[in-house]
């Protein structure tokens, strides 16, 4: 009490003293994010302006490492993350929520409790999917039975669970459907009605052969298509514009001579697409033997392809020259750390190519490959990359 009065007195004393130049600060101010820009990228849960090398804020999730992807409504006004809680930290009663975040503060704006079944796993693509009309969000469940929980974003309520035996991960496929990947290489088309309730589940013909060459989890969207890369470097595509997924022609990202030189497609997040130009960016590295888990091996090069012509149009070193000393350094957990583990391309007329490895996040002009920032100074050193503005 006396202490408080003393300090207050001190402050008022200062306030009236003339002749000094230092400005005094006001208490309690917090920043608010302006309108988002195309160059804003999430590195895990940290929002970074990769053009200006500026850390903008952290999503107010309780966990620090993303196990569920961040989903945005297409108008960019809502942000969703799935979270898991226990009444006693890691024991007690479990509650899973779809948490809605305010996009100007990245703070919690609301939550929808969903069945406590969300998949607890490392892969973060396909753990949740918002329909293209922003209305229904599906969460992938693994108990280990597989299913999806559908949430009505408009009504802010859980609609129901759809059992999806043998099929995992979930990707948006238009306004009222999702596709999932089945263990036997089929896709599962899940259709819902205008209230989010199950209408049908139908398997496609085989999308890939899991016995000879399985696809990797981190698919990327290109217009109406989802693109996946196989362990052996084959690009698979599926068009989801129709009522049933239409499987496209697959083709190899690796030429005969690439294969002779033992190039592999690698990285945690090996694919990125610039929608407007139809350019696909991929992470690649050389390794004598096929890799058991390509996700653990950073790409030492970033290749870009013209998706229309299937020609490789660019070939870049994954690490800036100034960082060669970092080669073999600390990677993200079990990654090799000698290249890039994650890549992303911002959209619009002047796309930026963002790549992340243990040693830092690099930013380049996507078209020229020229560096804008060899290493961001104000960003986490690595992490899963996702776009604030699609």
């Amino acid at each position: 009490m006396i202490f408080r009065l003393c300090v207050a007195g001190l402050l008022f004393g200062v306030a009236t003293a003339p002749g000094f130049s230092q400005e005094f600060d006001t208490f309690g101010r917090s920043e608010v994010l302006p309108e988002p820009e195309r160059d804003w990228v999430f590195v895990d849960y940290s929002l970074v302006d990769v053009a200006d090398d500026r850390f903008l804020g952290l999503i107010g999730v309780a966990e620090t490492f993303p196990t569920g992807a961040i989903e945005y409504s297409s108008d960019g006004a809502s942000l969703f993350v799935v979270e898991t809680f226990y009444t006693r930290g890691n024991r007690g009663e479990r509650t899973d929520t779809l948490t809605i975040f305010d996009t100007t503060t990245l703070g919690v704006a609301g939550e929808i409790v969903i069945p406590a079944k969300r998949a607890l796993m490392l892969a973060i693509t396909g753990t949740l999917a918002l329909t293209d009309n922003d209305r229904f969000l599906a969460v992938f469940n693994l108990t280990p039975a597989t299913s999806i929980s559908v949430v009505d974003i408009e009504a802010k309520s859980f609609v129901g669970e759809i059992s999806t035996p043998g099929c995992s991960l979930v990707f948006s496929a238009g306004d009222l459907s999702y596709v999932m990947i089945c263990a036997n290489g089929d896709l599962l088309a899940v259709t819902i009605d205008e209230n989010g309730r199950e209408v049908s589940k139908e398997r496609t013909e085989q999308f890939f052969d899991p016995e000879t060459d399985p696809i990797r989890e981190p698919g990327v969207r290109y217009g109406d298509e989802w693109l996946f890369v196989s362990f052996d470097g084959i690009l698979h595509s599926v068009d989801v514009s129709g009522s049933m997924p239409r499987i496209g022609e697959s083709w190899s990202l690796l030429s005969a001579s690439d294969r002779e030189e033992n190039w592999r497609i690698t990285g945690r997040q090996p694919l990125a697409v610039h929608q407007q130009s139809g350019r696909l960016y991929v992470l690649a590295r050389q390794n004598d033997e096929p890799l058991d888990d390509p996700a653990d091996w950073d790409g030492t090069e970033i290749w870009s392809f013209d998706l229309a012509s299937r020609e490789r149009v660019q070939r870049l070193e994954a690490l800036p020259e100034s960082d060669e000393s970092d080669a073999g350094g600390a990677g993200l957990g079990s990654t090799t750390g000698d290249g890039a583990a994650n890549i992303l391309v911002t959209q619009g007329d002047e796309p930026l190519l963002v790549s992340a490895a243990g040693s830092g996040v690099s930013v380049r002009h996507a078209m020229s490959g020229e560096y804008l920032h060899e290493r961001l100074q104000n960003a986490p050193s690595s992490g899963w990359l996702s776009l604030r503005v699609r």
Binding site: N90, P144, A330
Partner: protein, 180 residues
């Protein structure tokens, strides 16, 4: 700590054991048909029932021994492990540390025992109910499959079927011969 942070632990740990360079295809040709043959079969991972069947397994009293050091990531049973090795955490290669419970569902791999050159089916059960042990992280991915082949993926918290999904460590149970 939120239990989902075990991923964090697995990632943040300083120890980095890289995937072996053996081909994953070998396993698939061996067991692939069995696991992936059916078109619309729910591919549940090894269930408690199946695991318990292992309890009835033949015990040869004249074992040649389990070659190697169970606290080393190179130990033969760990060819497809992804986690903290239980023997470093107060357990053994086949028992969980005090106060943790063995996951009833799991992923299985096939490893060659250098002692007899035979391939064995290994069940990598997670030990559940406590925070990550933090000792002896080991990430070998031989025959690891994407998560949509659920019972063949080590990128899943296999404590998922427990009342607490907190991941602590991992054991490697020898279930039987892979060629039987």
């Amino acid at each position: 700590m939120d239990s989902t942070n075990w991923f964090d632990r697995r990632l943040e740990t300083g120890a980095r054991y890289l995937a072996r360079l053996t081909s994953r295809r070998s396993f698939l040709t061996r067991l692939g048909t069995l696991l992936l043959g059916g078109a619309s079969i729910p591919l549940l991972p090894l269930s408690r029932a199946a695991a318990q069947a292992a309890d009835a397994g033949f015990k040869d009293p004249d074992i040649e021994g389990d070659a190697g050091d169970p606290m080393s990531c190179d130990y033969w049973r760990y060819c497809s492990i992804d986690g903290f090795m239980s023997p470093c955490c107060g357990g053994s290669a086949s028992s969980c540390p005090p106060g943790t419970e063995m996951s009833t569902v799991t992923w299985i791999g096939t490893c060659t025992n250098p002692a007899d050159g035979v391939d064995y089916l290994i069940s990598y059960n997670d030990c559940c109910g406590k925070s990550p042990c933090g000792q002896c992280f080991c990430n070998n991915n031989e025959d690891d499959m994407p998560v949509y082949v659920t019972g063949r993926s080590n990128n899943i918290n296999w404590c998922l079927a427990h009342s607490t999904t907190a991941y602590h460590s991992t054991v490697a149970l020898v279930l039987g011969r892979a060629d039987a």
